[in-house]
Structure formats: structure tokens, C-alpha cells
């Protein structure tokens, strides 16, 4: 378990409506920032700001050093080497980088090396029914533009992935399989091995959405066996505007870039351009350097806590949230309760209060200083499959206390009372 870390997070000390203390339970949407992150970003601007990889003066040197050592820190968090980490503006941009790279290949870019990324009629792209829109729409659009077919691993009535369908959905025609490491709605942690095993059998590239796993669980890309993984800075205690794509080096070196500009190039003539190797080939233009430095500070903060400890702490929060929700009459928990001891579920609970719309639930909680996410959480297909338009989600991070989780459950009871739906 973790010590009480609230003092590390300045924002958590503020009061909200009517002077109430803040119960922050919207970390699945965006996490609060520890002082270490705020100070790292601030110190970069105050002391080291300069053009990265573009000059011979001392500030250019220091900024380049800060930028590249940030890359190494973030790589260490996920068990990767730093030349396999590409900076992006966020996880959405990272997934689009892969999908658009495959589109470029399908249009003929990248030569013989990019053959494995070329899609056309007869090819299949596989996702799952529980994906966040950011890991669905890029693939849907790639399919529409290349003539490939989009298929998905379905979920059952309780929102669990149908692993018994993996073999049938991932056909020999499948070229890419994109899936979440953990659902931002049900909290379920995916059995990555079950999907990677089948994807390898058919020679498909695997793309993991690590947005909800990297901030909360020990993640080691070598052990996971996937080919590419996207994750975001702001959900792992870092700044907004920064995220990363990890990929196996030979894949990144062969994937054609889809954004073009300065710094990503080897030789440019008026007629043509040759690219640098990864990761630089994917980083044209001035990069979000201070944000990268901030994200690295977040990675170090998490590594100092120990990701095993983080996962165990959040498992305890998961237990209070999820068991509390299922025990309450008139409240439906989306997804299985899970076994927090086995860490097969994240520290979150998305619930539906019978007879009360999620916006109304959120309003009552807000009045008590409890901040949650309401709506479909960018997972409309999953909500539709579960027969609801939206839900109310409480989600935790390292600073979440057991009291926070209890406050959410108590507030659900108050919601039922307020709207007259309590028995």
C-alpha cells in the first residue's frame, strides 16, 4: 500500500462548491499533478529552454539532454529502450500515427520494408467492442479508406471480452489487432497473452492502448509481447499535450511517417526526402519539450512509488468502489466486480443508478465536492451493448484515499434519496 500522498498534489488542497473539500475521482479522465511534475516543467523553462537538436550553444545542448533523458525515463517505466519511444501529443495522436502510417504504406509509401503495413480489400483489422473511441475510429477510418474489413472481438452481457471468440475473429486475413490493456469503463484488465498468441499465429501486428494501464499497473512491453503501445502523459500524473508511442524498433523503422517537416529528415532536395530512423522520423517540427520533461518526472515519481505498490493501493480502492456499488440496491455496476487481489480490475467503478440520469447523478455528487465523469466516457458502442446511454464513473489514482471511495458510495445513496428512487 501507499502512504497518504495528497500533500504532493497541490490542487487537492483546494476547496470546491460551497467551500467543501475536494474528493477527486476523475483520474481516469485526467490525473492531478504532483509537485515534482510542476517543478520539473517550470525548471526547464526557467533554466534550460532552448531549441532541441538544432544548435551548438549551451542551451540547445541542455534542452536536447533534458529531452532525451526524459525519453529514457519514460522508456524505463515500460521496460523499453529509449530509441523505441516516440513522443506524440497524446495517446490519440500515437494511435493515429500508426493507423496513418499504415494508410501511407497502403498508398505506396515506404518501399518493400513497408509491405507488412499495406492494407486492401480482403485484409482484416480487428479491434474489440469495448474500445475507447480513440482506439476505434482511427481503425474504422483506415478500413474505410483501404477497403480492408473492420471486425471486433465482442463483449458479453456483463461487458467482459469474449475470449472464446478470439480465434474466430482474428482470421488468417487479419493484418492488425488493436485493443485496450484495460477498459476505461469496466476496469477489466485484458488477458493480453490470449490475444497476442492468436495474432502471432496469423502474423498480425498488435497495437495496445495502454492509456489506462501504464498509469496504474506494472507494464513491461517485452513481457507483454505486443508490437506497439500508445499511452498518455496526462493520465499518468504528467502534463497535457504529451504522450508516447512505443514500438519494436524494426517496426518503427519500417513504418512510413505521416507528418512531415523539419528535423525528421536525413536529406532533402526539391524533389524528394529521406527520413531519419525512428524515433526522430516521427517527430517533425518543434516538440513539446517541457511537457516531455514533465512526463518523465511523472514516470520517475511512479517508479519511486513502485508500480506494484500503486497497483495494490488502487486494488483496495477498487474493492471499496466495486463491492460498494454492487451491494447497493438500485445501482448497476458496469462490468464484473473482479478480483482486486488478483489485480484483474482497475481502481474505478462505472455505475448506473436506476431511474436517474448520469448527469443528474453527477450534479448531486458535484454538490458534495465529489468530481466524477458522467456520460459515455468515449465508449459509446460498449454502453450501447450494455443497454445504457451513459454511466457515472469514479476512478482513482495514487492519491485516492479509502475515504474518497467511501464518500462516492455514500453519495450514491444520497442520489437515490434526492431523486426519490430509494425503496
Amino acid at each position: 500500500m501507499l502512504p497518504d500522498l495528497r500533500d504532493d498534489f497541490p490542487l487537492l488542497a483546494r476547496t470546491v462548491r460551497n467551500g467543501r473539500s475536494l474528493v477527486y475521482l476523475d483520474s481516469g479522465a485526467t490525473a492531478q499533478k504532483p509537485r515534482a511534475v510542476l517543478e520539473a516543467e517550470d525548471a526547464f523553462y526557467r533554466e534550460h529552454n532552448g531549441a532541441v537538436a538544432r544548435g551548438a550553444h549551451i542551451l540547445a545542448e541542455e534542452a536536447t539532454e533534458a529531452f532525451e533523458s526524459a525519453r529514457a525515463d519514460v522508456a524505463e517505466l515500460i521496460g523499453a529502450s529509449s530509441d523505441e519511444v516516440v513522443w506524440t501529443s497524446g495517446a490519440t495522436a500515437a494511435i493515429n500515427l500508426v493507423a496513418n502510417g499504415m494508410l501511407q504504406a497502403s498508398l505506396g509509401a515506404g518501399g518493400a520494408e513497408a509491405e507488412r503495413f499495406r492494407l486492401g480489400p480482403g485484409d482484416r483489422i480487428v479491434v474489440t467492442e469495448l474500445e475507447h473511441h480513440a482506439n476505434l475510429i482511427p481503425w474504422q477510418q483506415l478500413a474505410a479508406r483501404t477497403g480492408a474489413e473492420l471486425a471486433w472481438i465482442p463483449v458479453d452481457d456483463a461487458g467482459g471480452l469474449r475470449y472464446d471468440e478470439v480465434e474466430a475473429v482474428i482470421t488468417p486475413a487479419t493484418r492488425v489487432v488493436a485493443f485496450s490493456h484495460a477498459s476505461n469503463v469496466t476496469g477489466a484488465v485484458t488477458d493480453v497473452e490470449a490475444i497476442v498468441h492468436r495474432a502471432r499465429e496469423v502474423g498480425a501486428i498488435t497495437v495496445l492502448d495502454g492509456c489506462q494501464s501504464v498509469p496504474h499497473l506494472p507494464v513491461n512491453v517485452a513481457e507483454l509481447g505486443v508490437d506497439l503501445m500508445a499511452f498518455s502523459g496526462h493520465k499518468m500524473l504528467g502534463p497535457t499535450g504529451i504522450g508516447a508511442l512505443w514500438g519494436r524498433k524494426e517496426i518503427l523503422d519500417a513504418l512510413p511517417p505521416s507528418q512531415f517537416g523539419g528535423s525528421a529528415i536525413r536529406v532533402v532536395t526539391m524533389e524528394s526526402t529521406t527520413w531519419l530512423e525512428a524515433p526522430q522520423r516521427f517527430e517533425p517540427g518543434t516538440q513539446p519539450v517541457a511537457q516531455a520533461v514533465g512526463m518523465a518526472a511523472a514516470a520517475r515519481y511512479l517508479m519511486d512509488l513502485g508500480m506494484e505498490n500503486v497497483a495494490r493501493h488502487e486494488a483496495r480502492i477498487a474493492q471499496i468502489l466495486r463491492e460498494g456499488a454492487v451491494e447497493m440496491p438500485g445501482v448497476r455496476l458496469l462490468g464484473a466486480v473482479g478480483d482486486p487481489a488478483a489485480i484483474d480490475v482497475l481502481g474505478l467503478a462505472a455505475v448506473v443508478v436506476d431511474g436517474v440520469h448520469a448527469h443528474d447523478v453527477g450534479q448531486v455528487l458535484d454538490d458534495r465536492g465529489i468530481t466524477v465523469r458522467v456520460g459515455h466516457h468515449c465508449a459509446q458502442p460498449l454502453h450501447r451493448r450494455l443497454g445504457v446511454t451513459g454511466s457515472t464513473r469514479a476512478s482513482a489514482h495514487v492519491y485516492t484515499t479509502e475515504d474518497d471511495a467511501h464518500a462516492f458510495i455514500e453519495a450514491l445513496a444520497a442520489v437515490r434519496e434526492f431523486f426519490g428512487v430509494a425503496a
Binding site: A358, H359, Q363, G375
Partner: protein, 160 residues
């Protein structure tokens, strides 16, 4: 502001009753229909109007959403069915002003027009909920543009 002042009893009652709910066919020559979605939450409403001369003769709707959006549609149906088009326009403008008032009451003249709809004054303090309260009103405005286009040759439609 307390929760009770946002969810006033009149709002809770309208959310339950849903005045005008039921998407019946409107058998009038001048009619319009609009479907509006609140992209934040996926709430939606389909609203039909029928115009006779200068009168907003019929309003019918079906929708799903939070208590604020549903109550607001119910209130506007009760308030405006049978009223003149001029009154409907003025009421719409008054309601929009109420939403922009950050929780302050309007002048007496406009509050008289709004009737039960003044109960939504508390919503103006919560920017995220203003869209909920306006959902049905946007549908009404859009449907009326169509109905008017059908009733006076040459009138151009606009967008809600």
C-alpha cells in the same frame, strides 16, 4: 447555491410528467420536425410542431435524457402550445437570456413570459448543464423555421 434550488419541485414534476410526450403525427399543412443531440452525453429529442395561421397549434416530442433536459421540453410544450408565433419567439429569447444570466433572475416582463420556465434559473450557474436545458428549445426553433418556410413562400430556413 443548494441542489434544491437547481432541482426545484416544478422541474422534478415536469421531468416526471413529460407534458406533450409522444411523437404523434401532426396533421396540419404547416409543420416541422427537428432532431437534436447533446453531444456531451448523447441525450436526444425529436420534436414536431404544427402551425395554424399565426399560432403554434401543436407540439409533440419524444426524447431521452436527464431531468433538466426532459423537464425543459415538458415546460416549453405546456407553455407554448396554442400561443402565437410572436410569443413563442419572445419566450425563446427570454429563456436563452435566463440561461446566460448566471443564476440571476430576469426582469418581470420576461419572467411573466417564462412562467414555469423561470424555475430553470439555477441551471445558468452550471455551464455544463445549460445545453441540457436548451436541447428542446433548439429543436423547437429549428422545427418552427421549417414550419414557417412551409407557410410563407420565399422564407429561408436557418439553423438552430
Amino acid at each position: 447555491m443548494s441542489l434544491e434550488s437547481m432541482y426545484q419541485q416544478v422541474i422534478m414534476d415536469h421531468a416526471r410528467e413529460g407534458h406533450g410526450r409522444g411523437l404523434v403525427e401532426i396533421d396540419l399543412p404547416h409543420r416541422g420536425e427537428s432532431h437534436q443531440v447533446n453531444t456531451t452525453c448523447g441525450d436526444e429529442v425529436t420534436l414536431r410542431v404544427g402551425v395554424e395561421g399565426d399560432t403554434l397549434a401543436r407540439i409533440a416530442w419524444e426524447g431521452q435524457g436527464c431531468s433538466i433536459s426532459q423537464a425543459s421540453i415538458s415546460v416549453l410544450s405546456e407553455l407554448l402550445e396554442g400561443e402565437s408565433l410572436a410569443t413563442a419567439d419572445q419566450t425563446f429569447e427570454a429563456f436563452r437570456a435566463l440561461m446566460q444570466s448566471k443564476g440571476e433572475h430576469l426582469d418581470e416582463e420576461r419572467e411573466d413570459l417564462l412562467g414555469d420556465a423561470t424555475a430553470f434559473v439555477g441551471v445558468g450557474k452550471y455551464p455544463a448543464r445549460i445545453k441540457c436545458a436548451l436541447l428542446g428549445w433548439m429543436a423547437l426553433q429549428d422545427a418552427l423555421i421549417q414550419a414557417r418556410g412551409a407557410s410563407s413562400a420565399g422564407a429561408e430556413g436557418g439553423t438552430a
